[in-house]
Symmetry: C2
Subunit: 477 residues, 2 copies
């Protein structure tokens, strides 16, 4: 993509002192945990957004909260920008560095500190991957609910930064609904603890504002998360429709009837083609839109909920209804859905939008999205968390064609504005990062943004933490 977005101008004073800074930081870290050679810095130049690259000053990979505190304290004293990084899977450029910044990567902090079944929670270091929490407690019948598609790789620290969701968050909520406490280092090296094993606590809910703050308020080093009991059974069911609009209004009617399955995922024809070619999930190929609805519980409970859902689907002219008949088939159905982004990447470059809309607007926004991409001469595949109204149009383009890239970006911006104008918002789970920074004024009034920035300044008055992100560069307070 064309490098069209503005970054902050690097501080030449910091660049000139690079060698001294590296030498100073090496005192705080094990010898193999400070990366500064140009070739070794390449993997840290961008993240899952891929549209922009910047080489950071150096990368610190601390192993303990104390090491994080030492590095942050040093950067604070010397006014050096800091970019927190988990696994670098951000889809909005949340972990893209800048030239005068120290990246603090949490990938070496992978210890599961405590599993407490009695209180249904686990405490882990921030670099632990999302999936490994569920793996650590699966044998005892528990799991950690939020399940981003990148859950094999993404870290709990990154999930907290972006308030990540996933297919099963319709029933279980997103990260903020499953986070009980954090240990966090402030920019000056102070270590604070928020929340804990008990529900709620006196004083302000700073835990809530940390979750989704995109690394701008501090660096989380430990998290206590809620564990849930695995359901007795779970079954994905495929519903095929002749039009995207019929599928979209069907979703709205299911939710409006008060039925909350574990997941309602939507795929349009292009997405079905892409995912089926990759995963051989057995998706129906003769439909224009597919819903994957997962129900769970006892056999009786699943049957009752499915009957109610089928009634509604029939009112919208459902063409195919197919229940998964085995665990293998269920796993394939989900493999197809969860590999959607990777499978799309095999056939084209893409940018993935993340607008969220009220369910009543789902069918309308799908239709307008397709009008917009048609107008720009671009292909689009829609695969998303329909029950939450969290849309993910994947706009396909050629990253090496600057004109194509510019059109993809323009179309993406129009789609996000459409979501906001339909009563929704810019981002459901991927974050603002650098990608949607300049669209924030479309969502928020100047007063709204000023209040958010005032809160930010209460944590980081010098704007050292992830400074290029979230807020438009102009008009900052």
């Amino acid at each position: 993509m064309a490098d069209t977005i503005a970054f902050l101008t690097p501080d030449s004073g910091i660049l000139d002192r690079r060698e001294q800074i590296v030498a100073d930081l090496s005192a705080f870290l094990p010898s193999n945990r400070l990366i500064h050679k140009p070739r070794e810095l390449v993997p840290f130049e961008t993240d899952g957004y891929l549209a922009y690259r910047r080489r950071p000053l150096c990368v610190a990979l601390p192993e303990t909260t104390e090491q994080v505190a030492s590095v942050l304290g040093y950067c604070h004293t010397h006014k050096i920008p800091v970019i927190p990084r988990g696994a670098g899977t951000s889809l909005c450029g949340g972990a893209i560095p800048q030239e005068d910044a120290v990246v603090i990567g949490l990938s070496a902090m992978t210890r599961i500190i405590d599993v407490d079944f009695l209180n249904r929670c686990a405490t882990v270091q921030a670099g632990v991957t999302n999936l490994s929490i569920s793996e650590a407690v699966g044998a005892q019948g528990f799991f950690y609910a939020p399940d981003p598609s990148s859950q094999l790789a993404c870290t709990i620290g990154g999930n907290i930064g972006m308030n990540s969701g996933g297919a099963h968050c319709l029933k279980y909520g997103v990260t903020t609904n499953n986070l009980l406490g954090v240990k966090m280092v402030l920019i000056d090296g102070t270590v604070i603890e928020l929340g804990g094993k008990a529900l709620d606590s006196g004083g302000y809910d700073l835990l809530g504002v940390i979750c989704g703050s995109e690394g701008q308020l501090g660096i989380v080093t430990e998290a206590t998360v809620r564990l849930l009991a695995k359901p007795e059974g779970a079954r994905p069911v495929l519903f095929g429709f002749d039009s995207a609009e019929a599928a979209g209004t069907c979703v709205a009617d299911i939710i409006a009837a008060g039925i909350v399955p574990v997941a309602i995922e939507f795929m349009d024809k292009p997405a079905i083609d892409i995912c089926e070619a990759f995963a051989h999930a057995g998706y129906p190929m003769d439909v224009e839109a597919l819903l994957i609805v997962e129900v769970e519980g006892s056999e009786a409970e699943m049957e009752a909920m499915l009957a109610a859902i089928c009634d509604i689907a029939r009112q919208h002219g459902v063409k195919t209804v197919r229940e998964s008949q085995s665990a293998t088939e269920a796993a394939l159905i989900w493999k197809g859905r969860k590999s959607a982004f990777g499978a799309t990447g095999r056939i084209a470059d893409y940018i993935c939008m993340d607008g969220t809309v009220p369910l009543s607007q789902l069918a309308y926004v799908l239709r307008k999205t397709s009008e917009i991409t048609d107008r720009y001469g671009l292909r689009v595949a829609n695969v998303f968390h329909a029950g939450d109204g969290n849309m993910h149009p994947l706009i396909l383009y050629n990253i090496n064609d600057p004109d194509d890239a510019a059109r993809a970006e323009a179309a993406g911006n129009e789609i996000l504005k459409l979501c906001v104008d339909a009563g929704g918002c810019l981002t459901g789970e991927h974050g603002v990062g650098i990608e949607k920074r300049d669209l924030m004024r479309h969502q928020y009034s100047d007063q709204d943004l000023a209040q958010q920035m005032a809160v930010r300044a209460a944590f980081d008055p010098d704007w050292l933490l992830n400074p290029s992100k979230v807020f438009p560069l102009e008009g900052r307070t």
Copy 2:
């Protein structure tokens, strides 16, 4: 209770200008909406905490967001403290005024603005009572989940201020889990909107920090809340035990097994006696502790969950198990529980603690609580949300005996410290207010409190909103 807690010294300059202030404010409000005669101010001198009284300067009862903004803007310009008030049911003194303050009561803002079944949400003015939301949508099969015992009287604005819970929050979460958006007036009269009908939004989760901020960050005038579908069926079941400890460990084991009923309420023998005498709910009188466990769903689902719970209860030597057999009986069982505080008030004055502990500590904290009240020669009744670990010891005393009152307060403080030391917190749902303000240092480090106050100052730099509450008076930043 002895007036032992410090209030801020009233600003004599403001007191001297009382007549001018009343005259100025009357320009912003309908003629019957500004209360300033001493006799008419009496009902606003205290709230559900009752321990302290202060007569405010005057009380404004605005009908619109614009009127709230005008009054706040005036108070901001003239540096007059402001005390937001809902129905005045606060149990921690959150709505107790001070002499130099203007109370802004939301009780005249009772309009249900919009009910949107398609998006499963309702938008209401802040003075709407909790229960009236469920009443407005009940015929269509929906309800608003958080159910404080005061739900007949308490307002949604007050619920947001205190992040209120209730018996059924074990399954459905507390206010913060059911709040989608607010319209809020900042201290300078600026109106902002946070959240909305779509899930999540870009930027910081300021909605989360507003919920539970006890009226110190702004005044919420409208709220958009989540509506849930009523379950197919629901049934409370009574489990009687020979000891409080057996009941307590039974609760911990139910939750540790991953079973989440809608509600698990605990009553010890004194609470059973008090509630049965008032409500004739049919509670067993030959047990030392009672659990009210509510299951819901289809018949098959309720049966399955109950069977699993009964298995665990038997392991703890349960003495009595009785399922409600009719809607009338179920209503009586809940009437007994929900009237516990009122029924206690008939036999003695009391203070109600609100500490929350990890479930593994429930039995231990119950035993220590009884040791503490024994040592002070006071009676205690325990009735609380056991599934959440949210304890409500009611310490009985005589409000007209200063020595008794001082001992009750001292015992209460010891119990709250016990909860914190057991890994819990000072307050699960009642808030800090004035009651627990000076205990905040027991829960939080100086750094923790400094960061909370920095966030507060980002909203209200002059500390005009509810200034005597939440934070210890000394050491404020």
